[in-house]
Structure formats: C-alpha cells, structure tokens
C-alpha cells in the first residue's frame, strides 16, 4: 500500500497533475494565470517551476479558443488539462465543449477520440456573486459525449483526475472552491477512482440522501445530527453525474423507502430532477413510502450579501429539516 498523507483537496489535485506530468510527456496544463501565479486558487502552485512553461502554459484570456486548442491537441495525441479560472467562464467556451469536444467522435463515426480534461472551480460561498459562483455541472451533464465528475474529498479529487487522464473521452471536473482547503487522507502515488461510480459514504436505514460535491460533507454533518435525533440516513456521494450511477441510488432507495436529493445547482431541471426521475422510473418506485424531496439552489443568481448567499444554496440545517420531515412522515 502507498503511504497516506493528510493533504488538502487543492494539493491532491496538484499532486495528481504532478504525477501525470511526470509520468506522461503528452500531458500538459493550460489555463489563465496557472504559471508563476500558481492559478487563481493556487491549485497549479509551483508546477511551472517543476515542469517548465511548455508543460504548464499560461494562456491568453480566451476561453473559447483555449477550449478548442485543448480539443485539437487532444485529437492529435496530447493529453491537455485545461483549467478554467471559474466554472462560470465555461459559458464563453461552451461552443467548443458542447459542439466540438462532446460530438467530435460521434460526428466522425468513431474515427477520433477527444481525451481532454477540463477543470472548473465552481460553487458559491466565497462572496464572488453571480458570475463567479455558479454550479453549472447540470449543463454539461445534459450533453452526451461528455463525462462530468464532482469530487467531494481530496481522495476523490486526485483519483478522479487521474482516472480522467486515463479516459479516452472529454471529462469535465467540477471542483468546489470551498473544498480546496479541506484536508483528507490521500495515498501517495498513482491511483484512480472510477468514473461513473457513486459511493455509499454512510449506510443508513430511514432515508437516502443523494448528494454531490460540497453537499456531501454537508449531508454527512446533517446525518450525524439526524442520528442523534434517531433518524438513520444513508448518504450517497454521486461523484460522477454523467454517466449517472443509477444502480447505487435505486438499490439504496429500495432499502430506505425515502429519497432526499441535495445539490447546489439551481433546483429546477437540476441533478435532483434526474436522480428523482431515475428512481421513479426504476423498481424503486414500488418501494417509495413518501414523496421524493429535492433541495437545490434557489431560482436566482447567487447574491453577494453573505446571508443571502447562504440562503441561496442548501445548508446543513436545511438538510436536517428536510430529512426529519421526510423520515418522520410529515411529508
């Protein structure tokens, strides 16, 4: 077994990139201010000094072309990791991501693969307001051809990134800004976390909480409180939202009879809608003993005021309230 050390989510991502840069000449990083500046969230850190400016490339503020260049480079044999400064800026690059990266293999009848990895710092909680705080993963989850992952721990952040680099298709990694400093145990060296597999991170009996990204630690906190109140919650970390691991969700709901979906993206037409639909379309339908409950982001842009900002996305207290109502038969 590899040695395990306690490092942050950001350090785990950097570690994964360093391992990949070291192991594979084809791997390179591209992004805005990822060189000597170290990245807007200091994720790339000192990698430019270790691997040089040819491997850790500061690019012009040109998200659209940046994404396209990564696609072209990937088609021609390189393994680009493109960092967006904020996931919101993906809107500028959506053409290349949704129309080119995602569809190229299909349009060309399987003649090419597009092994590009894109990293998106996302989510609210930093006071960065409406254009720097969104959780847009569901946009990407709607596009066949893309794979979309949302690590919630340093371990998964490293393992999913290394898995993304081994994946022949475009993988979009949504990292949560508030998680960057969160520490956790991470093995040294190379390992992967499979894309497309959810994890049951807490077993329980009374209801299933399906969460992703930062909502996973929040759901786990809530589950601790719920246990003290006599409600046993099972917590599933989706980890990947496309392809969605429906099997793990369905199995859990068959056991607990109740489903609470918690996600930071806007509630309507979000991940929770897909998770819910997957459950009612499955054999789990017959095992539901209460309506499914979704907790998602507010139907508003992310506001600046700290209290408003907090109210715009599910918090631990909201999860506890919803779970209690669901488990005690009030809903």
């Amino acid at each position: 077994m590899n040695d395990v050390s306690e490092i942050s989510y950001a350090e785990a991502i950097k570690d994964a990139m360093a391992i990949a840069l070291q192991a594979d000449e084809r791997v390179f990083l591209m992004g805005e201010d990822i060189g000597v500046y170290g990245g807007a969230f200091q994720v790339t850190g000192d990698l430019v000094h270790r691997f040089g400016e040819d491997r850790v490339i500061d690019m012009p503020i040109s998200e659209l072309a940046g994404a396209g260049v990564a696609v072209g480079a990937a088609v021609n044999g390189l393994r680009p990791i493109l960092e967006f400064q904020f996931s919101d800026f993906a809107a500028l690059a959506m053409e290349q991501i949704a129309n080119q990266a995602a569809k190229m293999r299909y349009m060309l009848g399987g003649e090419v693969s597009v092994p590009v990895v894109m990293r998106f710092p996302s989510g609210s909680g930093t006071g960065a307001a409406a254009q720097h705080s969104q959780s847009l993963e569901a946009w990407f989850g709607h596009v066949p051809g893309l794979k979309v992952v949302q690590p919630s721990t340093p371990y998964d952040a490293k393992g999913l990134l290394l898995a993304a680099l081994e994946d022949p298709d475009p993988v979009m990694i949504f990292e949560h800004k508030l998680l960057y400093k969160v520490k956790g145990e991470v093995p040294e060296g190379h390992y992967t976390v499979p894309i497309g597999k959810a994890a049951v991170v807490l077993e329980g009996r009374d209801l299933t909480i399906v969460a992703s990204s930062i909502m996973v630690p929040r759901a786990l906190d809530a589950a601790g409180e719920l246990a003290r109140q006599g409600v046993s919650a099972e917590v599933i970390d989706l980890r990947t939202i496309r392809p969605l691991d429906r099997e793990t969700i369905v199995k859990s709901v068959c056991k607990t009879h109740r489903l609470l979906c918690v996600y930071e993206g806007v509630k309507t037409l979000g991940i929770g809608a897909e998770v819910s639909a997957s459950v009612v379309e499955s054999e789990a339908f017959d095992f539901l003993d209460a309506p499914i409950v979704r907790l998602g982001g507010a139907e508003s842009p992310i506001p600046y005021n700290p209290e408003l900002e907090k109210a715009a996305v599910p918090q631990k207290e909201n999860i506890i309230d919803a779970a209690l109502a669901l488990a005690s038969g009030v809903r």
């Binding site: 109140q229 006599g230 009879h257 003993d289 038969g329």
Partner: protein, 419 residues
C-alpha cells in the same frame, strides 16, 4: 384538479375525530387559510383551514359523528374548474343520472375523489397511498379502500398496511413499524426544554432489543412461593470460618435453583420452532446491575458445583462484569436466571424471561413475617420467590413442582451444603 379537504391527523395516536361546526357551506368561495370547520378530537378542539382557494363543494354533512383520519370531507374547485367535469365521470353519473351541476347533487354518502373509477382496480388507484404501501397491499391482498391512511393528506403509508398484514413482513417493514416511537415523534409530545437527552449506548440498545423481543414473543406466566429462611440463616451462621468468603443467601438461592432444575430436567429446557432443547447442564444467569444497565453472566453446570464454588464463581463473574471484561462465553446461552432485588427492599416482583431461557426467578427482600403453623401465629424470616415461566416449555404443574422443589431446598438447607 380539485383540491381535497381531509380530516387531518393532528395527534400521534389520533384515529378519529368529529366535525363540530362548518364555517362555510356548499358552493361558497373560500380562500386558502380560511377556517373551514372545527374539529373535535379526544383531546381538543381545533380549527381546520382551507388547503386551497376556490369553491367549496361536496361538503360532508356528517356533523358530530366519528370520521376517520384522512377521510375526505369536502372538495375545493379552482376558478374555472367547472363542476361538469365531475358529473361527467361515470361514478357520479351512476349515483345521480340527471345531474347538471354538482351543486345540485346530494352529497354522496361516501365522498370519493372526483376521478373516474369503474372497477376495483381503478378505485384502488384513486386512494392516496404511497407506492410502497400499494406494493405491500398487493403482496398481502389487502384492499386499500379498507385502510385509513395515517400519512399527510390521509396518505396510506407502509405502516398502515403492516399493522394489517398477516405475516412475513420484510425486516424493514418491522422497522418501519417502529417509526411512531422515533425520537422526533416522542419528543414532539413534550416541551422543547422539558427534558435532557441521554443518547443510548450499545448496552442500552441491546437490553431494549432483548426485552422487547422477549415481551412480544414469550408467553409467560408467574407463580410465587414464600420461603422461610431461618434455617438457612442459622446454617450459614454456623458454617466454619475458612480462608474463603462465606456464601451469601443469594449463592444459596442459586444452588437451590440448580438442585430444583436438576430434579426437574423437563423445566431445564429451551423452546425452538420445531423442538424442545432439554439441556444437560444447569447454567444459571445471575443478573448483575451496572451503572448504565445490567448483564447476566452464567454459572455453568451449577448443578455439580458446591455452594462454595458457586459463591466464588458468582464473585468472579460479578467483578468481571463490573470491569466490563466478560467474554461472550461467559454470558451467551444459559437455561435460567436469578434476579435478586431484595437488597433494594422490593418485597416481590416479576422479571422478563431472557430467551433462550425458559424461566427466571425474582427474589424479593427477606423479612420477618407472621406465619400460621397448626393454628398458631409465629414469626419467621420469609422471602418471596416469583417464578416467570415460558408456557411453551413449562406448563403450570411443572412450574409449580419446580417452585415447590426450590422452596424445599431453601427451607431444608442441609442439602445445599451436602457434597
């Protein structure tokens, strides 16, 4: 879709209530939040508010009669929802063929949701029930129409079916049954600051599980005998002083019970679904009270141990139990238990049999009591031993015989110290 008005459940144990007074009548406009009617439960009178805005229809005329929780007592039609929608459905059509508007109609005796249902199947569907409850109903051939729902809006949920289901419920269904005793449900009955919470530890949970299981599965009966112990006390006093501790009265009781069971081997048995397990040794559990619960370590083969050995063994196990150091071998299995609360002054009490045991003996406090012997009142030191027996294993006569034998041993204590 029209909105249904139901008789809401407002109390955990509420199943029925009465409508004391309606504040609106058929055809009137109501706004969400308006008080629709007064509901009288066993405990209180409550306002029930309109769940939606619209026109009230199909108002139940049942006033001052028991109505089941969840039953529909009226409907509210939204603006523009014509009542013709309802008269068009076959169900209503059969009850009133000449109807043009629902307002003209007498209220059906049993209010039904305004959706078409021609067969039992569709009627089944028009009941508000969770998918899991429907599945359980299907699996157990229960007609949902005959079930009243305890969930929100009168929804039939799994627990409503489980209480009616004949047998073979999945484990989780039994768990679901336990939901009414969930912390939240119980805590809701008390003011928020009226208690402090002590979370259960593993031992508390184990005890709870064991006694609940015993109470719900073991058919027990009780039988008491008064034992005079003056002879026993004298004998104990006369025991020679050695380097070993003198056996206690409790040690003697264990020895007596061992002898009694040895002489009545049919009572030294355990129940299984298909057989009686008649045990070859008498393994007696001795309840040891701990700060946060109790545990019953076993005196193995008590029938062949001397009084002194029993005494030493009980001491050893009790010490170990208090150190929380017992191994499973020291408490798993056994055939009976002695529980002694005499030192706390309890005169007599009953205990809950701890399966696979088929009996338990509860020893009360010894005290001087008046006894009548050949017409003369005398004073004797007496303790009451109350036996609980699993009737599946030990019928009354056998139980009485065992108790009598036990008393003989206590009252003629020489047998206890004979090798």
């Amino acid at each position: 879709m029209p909105f249904e008005v139901i008789l809401p459940k407002v109390d955990m144990d509420m199943t029925h209530a009465r409508i004391a007074q309606w504040y609106f009548t058929e055809g009137q406009r109501v706004s969400k939040g308006d008080v629709l009617f007064d509901m009288e439960t066993d405990k209180s009178m409550m306002d029930v508010e309109a769940p939606a805005t619209g026109t009230l229809a199909h108002v139940s005329e049942v006033v001052d009669a028991e109505i089941s929780v969840g039953e529909v007592v009226a409907w509210i039609y939204a603006e523009g929802e014509t009542v013709a929608e309802i008269t068009a459905n076959p169900q209503t059509a059969t009850t009133a063929t000449t109807a043009t508007t629902a307002h003209d109609q007498p209220v059906p005796t049993e209010l039904s949701p305004p959706v078409a249902h021609e067969s039992t199947d569709t009627a089944q569907q028009s009941v508000r029930a969770s998918p899991f409850a429907r599945k359980l109903a299907r699996d157990n051939a229960i007609d949902l129409k005959n079930v009243s729902g305890s969930g929100p809006m009168g929804r039939i949920v799994a627990t409503d079916i489980i209480v009616r289901a004949p047998s073979q419920q999945p484990t989780r269904a039994i768990e679901a049954l336990q939901h009414p005793t969930s912390d939240a449900s119980v805590e809701n009955l008390f003011a928020e600051d009226a208690f402090s919470r002590l979370p259960h530890n593993a031992m508390r949970r184990a005890i709870a599980t064991r006694v609940s299981l015993a109470c719900s599965t073991v058919p027990a009966y009780h039988l008491s005998v008064d034992c005079e112990i003056d002879a026993l006390l004298a004998l104990r006093k006369d025991l020679p002083v050695t380097d070993r501790k003198k056996p206690s009265i409790n040690d003697c009781i264990v020895k007596a019970l061992a002898l009694a069971l040895h002489d009545n081997p049919q009572a030294n048995a355990s129940w299984t679904d298909t057989a009686m397990l008649v045990h070859k040794t008498v393994d007696i559990g001795v309840a040891v009270a701990l700060d946060d619960g109790l545990i019953t370590p076993l005196i193995r083969s008590a029938q062949s141990l001397s009084l002194h050995d029993i005494s030493t063994e009980i001491q050893r196990l009790a010490d170990k139990a208090r150190r929380n150091a017992l191994t499973p071998d020291e408490y798993r299995g056994g055939t009976t238990t002695v529980s002694n609360l005499g030192m706390f002054g309890a005169d007599r009490f009953t205990s809950i049999i701890n399966p696979p045991h088929s009996s338990i003996v509860s020893i009360g406090a010894a005290s001087e009591r008046a006894v009548v012997r050949e017409g003369i009142i005398e004073i004797a030191t007496v303790l009451t031993a109350t036996f609980a027996f699993d009737h599946r294993v030990i019928d009354g006569a056998l139980g009485a015989q065992l108790a009598s034998c036990f008393r003989q041993c206590i009252e003629n204590p020489q047998a206890l110290i004979d090798p």
